[in-house]
């Protein structure tokens, strides 16, 4: 159905010490929905191949044949450190996609949006947030973004200046900035107070498995229906 396409790295942006945004040019890219991902395939000289999934950060139509992927380098990893730091700009890899029709927000979807991200899990929900910010929708949209410390925030500048009607709340788990009212710690039920109501809000949760499990339990306890919570665990 999909097939592998060649993708040329055109730009690499440092987001955090180990997080990178990679922009690839993919001829004849068919477009994608916020929340979708691609599989990236690397090929060594001896023919050995490795495939990993990466979320698409920018919404469809943002850049024609360009796609933006978020890559978090994991220590000792086989693929992510290579993509994060070693693949030369101008070189090619193969991608398959766009993939996935479940963890997506379509332009037809209406109603308040509650996005909950842990660490680099912000990448696919950022595509949703950007699409919402670019739309004429008046529906509330909140991003709860859990990070260990201020220097681990992706898209920091962009998040400081989001569109009207979009709220971003950072939840620091280890080190909070000076003067912050919320003590450092993982997401709690209190962090869901004042969020868009459970009645018609769609929730998207993405992050490490343990984070998604915990946030999902908090949402259910706060009355959000399981049919309105979609998750993307990345291990």
């Amino acid at each position: 159905m999909h097939g592998w396409r060649r993708a040329r790295l055109t730009e690499r942006t440092k987001q955090t010490a180990t997080g990178r945004t990679l922009t690839f040019e993919v001829p004849h890219w068919p477009g994608h929905l916020p929340g979708q991902h691609v599989d990236v395939r690397l090929t060594a000289d001896d023919g050995y191949q490795a495939v990993r999934s990466y979320s698409l950060a920018a919404p469809a139509g943002a850049g024609g044949d360009r796609i933006e992927l978020g890559v978090q380098a994991t220590f000792g990893g086989e693929v992510s450190p290579y993509l994060a730091d070693d693949l030369p700009v101008g070189a090619e890899v193969e991608v398959m996609g766009p993939l996935g029709g479940w963890f997506v927000r379509t332009p037809q979807d209406r109603g308040p949006l509650l996005l909950i991200a842990g660490g680099s899990g912000v990448v696919p929900v950022m595509a949703m947030l950007r699409a919402r910010a670019a739309s004429a929708s008046g529906d509330p949209c909140v991003l709860l973004y859990s990070v260990r410390a201020p220097d681990e925030v992706w898209y920091a500048t962009e998040l400081d200046a989001v569109a009207e009607g979009v709220r971003v709340r950072l939840l620091y788990t280890r080190t909070a900035p000076e003067g912050s009212r919320r003590p450092a710690g993982r997401i709690t039920a209190d962090d869901l107070l004042g969020m868009p109501p459970p009645t018609d809000t769609h929730c998207y949760v993405c992050g490490p498995t343990a984070f998604v499990e915990h946030a999902g339990e908090l949402l259910l306890a706060a009355g959000y229906g399981p049919d309105r919570i979609r998750t993307e665990r990345f291990g």
Binding site: R6, L42, T43, A44, D45, D46, G47, Y48, A50, G76, E78, Y82, D86, L87, P88, A91, E92, V93, E94
Partner: protein
């Protein structure tokens, strides 16, 4: 292939004579899983040998620990391309269990508490080539590595060394196991690089 992902080598390289083809050495001990880690207290653990006619013989944890023990130090090779040298185990040679039953079987299926299975020729788990191991590197085997007890069959790819093993079933015919029935090689010799069904 040469023009794709330049500078990507994967993780392979040479350790002449000791590293099977296509493997790379690692100091760590990766955990591969096909499901949740089962929790098996040793008080509820038992190991059962089942003959081809259905007769069986079981050992409790304490009975197993009272059997003759060995401490093999062996190299292990995972089909996902990592190899780990000089791993130290403690356990019971499978001969000790198999000697307890007369059999005409040529094959054995290892069965685990989580439903995992793997098939082996009987001759590959006898004569000191395979162990039921309960300790790794001097400590009780941790659940993520197959504790309380797993098989260790170092001359075959490590998926044959079933984690959380609960018994061996002797069979007259070869019965493909969990991975063997989904594309992996029936025998799995790392030196002949028998990774997949067609290798």
């Amino acid at each position: 292939m040469g023009d794709l992902s330049p500078g990507f080598h994967g993780k392979s390289h040479a350790f002449a004579g000791r590293l099977p083809p296509g493997q790379y050495p690692t100091e760590s001990f990766p955990v591969l899983s096909a499901g949740p880690t089962p929790d098996i207290p040793t008080g509820r653990w038992s190991f059962t040998l089942t003959g081809e006619a259905g007769e069986s013989r079981s050992w409790s944890w304490d009975e197993m620990m009272a059997l003759p023990q060995e401490e093999p130090t062996v190299d292990i090779h995972c089909v996902t391309r990592w190899s780990k040298f000089d791993t130290r185990w403690r356990g019971v040679p499978l001969d000790v269990f198999l000697d307890a039953m007369e059999t005409a079987a040529d094959f054995v299926v290892a069965e685990s508490f989580d439903g995992y299975t793997t098939n082996l020729p009987l001759e590959d788990v006898t004569d000191g080539k395979a162990w039921l191991a309960h300790s790794f590197d001097g400590f009780a085997l941790s659940p993520d590595h197959g504790g309380p007890a797993r098989l260790v069959i170092p001359h075959l790819y490590f998926w044959k060394s079933a984690k959380w093993v609960k018994g061996l079933r002797l069979t007259l015919d070869n019965e493909p196991g969990f991975w063997e029935s989904a594309g992996y090689h029936d025998y799995g010799d790392p030196w002949r690089e028998q990774r997949y069904w067609s290798d």
